[in-house]
């Protein structure tokens, strides 16, 4: 590891910390300063003042704001989120441990779909520039971008579940199979393979198809556009002209030489897309009743469960910052020019 790479790594790591801190702070104060009493909004107006005080004391809500803030920061660092205020009052870390795998199981196939379809179509459009197929692919990318992700999901449900009855409507697995399903890691596909429960594996995969395709397709639009633009630029680069002069076939030039160099900007894009992916996951999970972290966040916000919401957003922030850090490092590793 060269010195410049190490320096880059350290700088980038140090920049991640304030980023996460800003987000957590933002959410903390937004949840506290703005109108609305967390206890009353949860338990309703019929709670007596005495009861409310007692609950506030138990949760530490009667302490000065800055004490609560530092307490919250410390708890985030130590991953001690406390218990949820509603629905069973289970430890939040335990709930997140169940929900996060569901989200990952949804987003990883979706992202793979996006990358394959997006890069494939984008590169193909670039090689067929200004031909009808290029125009068609561009139009497709704009349309896909413009369709609200939940609408796309609902349309898929109507077509493939209600009309054709091919795929299940919602959920992660057939409820009948779920009764006897032994979940070890909460990654259902992984668990099904580990326990050799093939019926469950098929069910889990069938349930995954619609949500993953929906999420993947919704993100593919941006990917197609960026791959196409970068690839067009790359196809006009000097080294391609040089290759062409040497008689390297056009297809090989495009897919072996140009596309490979296009991967670098695309990699950054994957990092940036993560934010959109997470937002998309919230909507997809709601549409398909997928018990992931996005739906968890939405229901907890609706219940005004302050501790659960703060902790979930903190996890989101760390997750996003972590991935973007990883992407940047990978990027710097591949392309030495950007180690500043």
């Amino acid at each position: 590891m060269s010195a410049s790479f190490r320096n880059f790594l350290i700088t980038r790591l140090l920049l991640t910390i304030p980023m996460v801190l800003i987000l957590i702070t933002f959410v903390f104060f937004i949840m506290r300063i703005l109108p609305g009493d967390p206890i009353r909004s949860q338990l309703g107006p019929r709670v007596s003042a005495e009861q409310a005080d007692r609950i506030a004391e138990r949760l530490g809500l009667n302490r000065p704001l800055y004490v609560q803030y530092f307490d919250f920061l410390w708890k985030t660092v130590t991953l001690d989120f406390g218990t949820a205020l509603t629905q069973g009052e289970r430890p939040i870390i335990q709930e997140l441990g169940e929900k996060l795998p569901a989200t990952i199981e949804l987003t990883v196939p979706a992202m793979t779909f996006t990358a394959v379809v997006g890069i494939g179509l984008g590169a193909y459009a670039a090689t067929r520039r200004k031909k009808p197929i290029d125009f068609g692919i561009r139009l497709f990318s704009i349309i896909v971008y413009s369709i609200p992700i939940f609408f796309m999901g609902l349309i898929f449900q109507i077509i493939f579940s209600v009309r054709l009855n091919l795929l299940p409507l919602a959920g992660r697995m057939d409820p009948l199979l779920l009764i006897n399903f032994n979940s070890i890691t909460n990654f259902y596909i992984l668990d099904a393979i580990l326990t050799r429960n093939w019926a469950a594996l098929v069910s889990a995969l069938r349930h995954l198809i619609l949500p993953a395709t929906t999420l993947g397709l919704a993100l593919a639009g941006v990917f197609i556009r960026l791959t196409r633009v970068n690839m067009i630029e790359m196809l006009h680069a000097d080294f391609i002209t040089a290759g062409r002069a040497r008689g390297i076939p056009e297809g090989r030039l495009a897919y072996r030489h140009a596309l490979r160099n296009t991967f670098i900007p695309i990699l950054t894009l994957i990092g940036l897309q993560l934010a959109i992916l997470m937002a998309g996951a919230v909507l997809t999970e709601t549409t398909f009743s997928w018990p992931g972290i996005g739906r968890y966040l939405v229901t907890r916000i609706q219940l005004r469960d302050y501790t659960a919401v703060q902790s979930t957003i903190a996890v989101f922030a760390v997750f996003v910052a972590g991935i973007s850090l990883a992407m940047d490092v990978l990027y710097a590793f591949i392309d030495p020019r950007i180690r500043y």
Binding site: A275, L277, V320, S324
Partner: protein, 420 residues
């Protein structure tokens, strides 16, 4: 970026650069748009199509009352009526010599009316009575005594025997059966006001879908345009100042903006909207916050590259004030990008608003809003496809119009790529 390098990169000779491009560099944004001949090669109809679509959407958004046949909040028809299906295809069957021709006559004298149990005819009868009572004089309430029958034949037999004065049934059910009852006739439609169907159907509480999506255009445009404008008004000056002043202010602002930018926008908007509560202003604020970093980043980047130009230095040495330099010398450079981002942002804001409403964090529940209609329609995904399809298509169409406009604007204003 050093000056020499940029000069080197962009020193086109007259042979390599077409005349129109040189001309473009000399004119303002409006002339540039009109002169940009990059509209050829298929792109021009992109522009025309999106502009026409937008014009239409804006007219509909401004004057929904011209287009909407009904009040979007009023329960104007029976619930869950499929597109084009007539509101009530049910008819009233009476005996030929009774002289009874309408439901009103039966209802007037509080006589018996029959229908078959466990069929939609009970709902049809109830709807028809509601309509009758709505048009009745003050204090009058029509209430014929209902009589339920297990089968159609039982009911018709009873009618022939005079036990009931009328019977409710659909024409399809009566087909082929009526011949067996020579003494009976189809007197009239169940409803007096023979309405034509609802073009796009009705939702579960009998609101007209067409009217709701037309009024929804207004909400979408208001939220989309004002939140993008709000973000622009805050983000652009911040970006200008931050880049121009530099130093620690720039560093802090960039850090904050980058953090906001990296975080999933919808989740931030949800948190803000949840705390602020339902309401159109709150939604606009929640969405605007998401887009401030977009303007900030683009403007800042452009200012940083323009700041070192020679003409800025010249203005500074002539003693121009910072404010003058910012607004008269630097700001015009960022206008094209801001226009493009604005257009794309409106599209994005409309999507985000629909998403927020879909999740239940948007507007008050009865607002005619596409996201709310989609969320309500989700419960009926198995039964009524039209509840979801039409509001969804509207969101798609309007977003598409704004994205296509942004796309074509960027081709016109940044012709760099088109030249490759």
């Amino acid at each position: 970026m050093s000056k020499t390098q940029s000069d080197f990169e962009f020193s086109p000779s007259a042979e390599t650069v077409p005349d129109w491009m040189l001309e473009l560099d000399q004119v303002g944004i409006v002339r540039r748009m009109l002169m940009a001949r990059k509209w050829y090669g298929g792109d021009w109809w992109f522009v025309v199509f999106s502009a026409l679509l937008l014009l239409f959407v804006i007219i509909v958004g401004f004057f929904p009352q011209w287009f909407a046949p009904h009040d979007p909040r009023a329960e104007v028809g029976p619930s869950l009526l499929a597109p084009g299906e007539p509101p009530s295809s049910y008819v009233l069957v009476t005996t030929v010599d009774s002289g009874v021709t309408s439901l009103r006559q039966i209802a007037d004298s509080s006589n018996y009316i029959g229908y078959q149990v466990a069929t939609p005819s009970s709902q049809a009868l109830r709807d028809a009575l509601d309509e009758l009572n709505a048009t009745a004089e003050e204090g009058v309430r029509y209430q014929p005594r209902p009589k339920r029958f297990e089968t159609l034949e039982e009911g018709l037999d009873a009618l022939q025997a005079g036990e009931v004065d009328g019977f409710v049934a659909s024409p399809q059910e009566l087909e082929g059966v009526m011949e067996n009852y020579p003494a009976l006739e189809v007197a009239s439609g169940l409803r007096e006001a023979a309405e034509s169907g609802f073009v796009l159907g009705t939702n579960q509480i009998g609101q007209d879908i067409l009217s709701r999506i037309i009024w929804g255009t207004r909400i979408a445009l208001i939220v989309g345009l004002s939140s993008a404008l709000f973000a622009l008004v805050i983000g652009v000056p911040l970006g200008l100042i931050s880049a121009y002043v530099g130093g620690s202010l720039d560093r802090v602002l960039t850090l904050i903006m980058d953090s906001l930018y990296a975080f999933p926008g919808l989740i931030l908007a949800i948190s803000i909207a949840a705390v602020l509560g339902a309401g159109i202003t709150n939604i606009i604020i929640a969405i605007a916050v998401l887009y401030i970093p977009t303007y900030f980043r683009i403007v800042r980047g452009q200012v940083l590259s323009v700041k070192e130009e020679l003409y800025i230095e010249a203005a500074q040495s002539l003693g121009a004030k910072s404010r003058t330099i910012l607004w008269r010398y630097i700001f015009p450079n960022v206008i094209p990008s801001v226009v493009i981002i604005f257009s794309v942002n409106v599209a994005d804001a409309i999507l985000t608003e629909a998403g927020l409403s879909f999740l239940g964090f948007g507007l008050p529940p009865d607002t005619p809003d596409w996201g709310i209609d989609l969320a309500r329609g989700q419960d009926y995904v198995r039964r009524a496809w039209w509840l979801i399809t039409f509001p969804g298509l509207m969101v798609t169409m309007v977003t598409l119009a704004f994205s296509m406009l942004g796309e074509s604007l960027s081709e016109i204003l940044n012709p760099r790529l088109s030249e490759l």
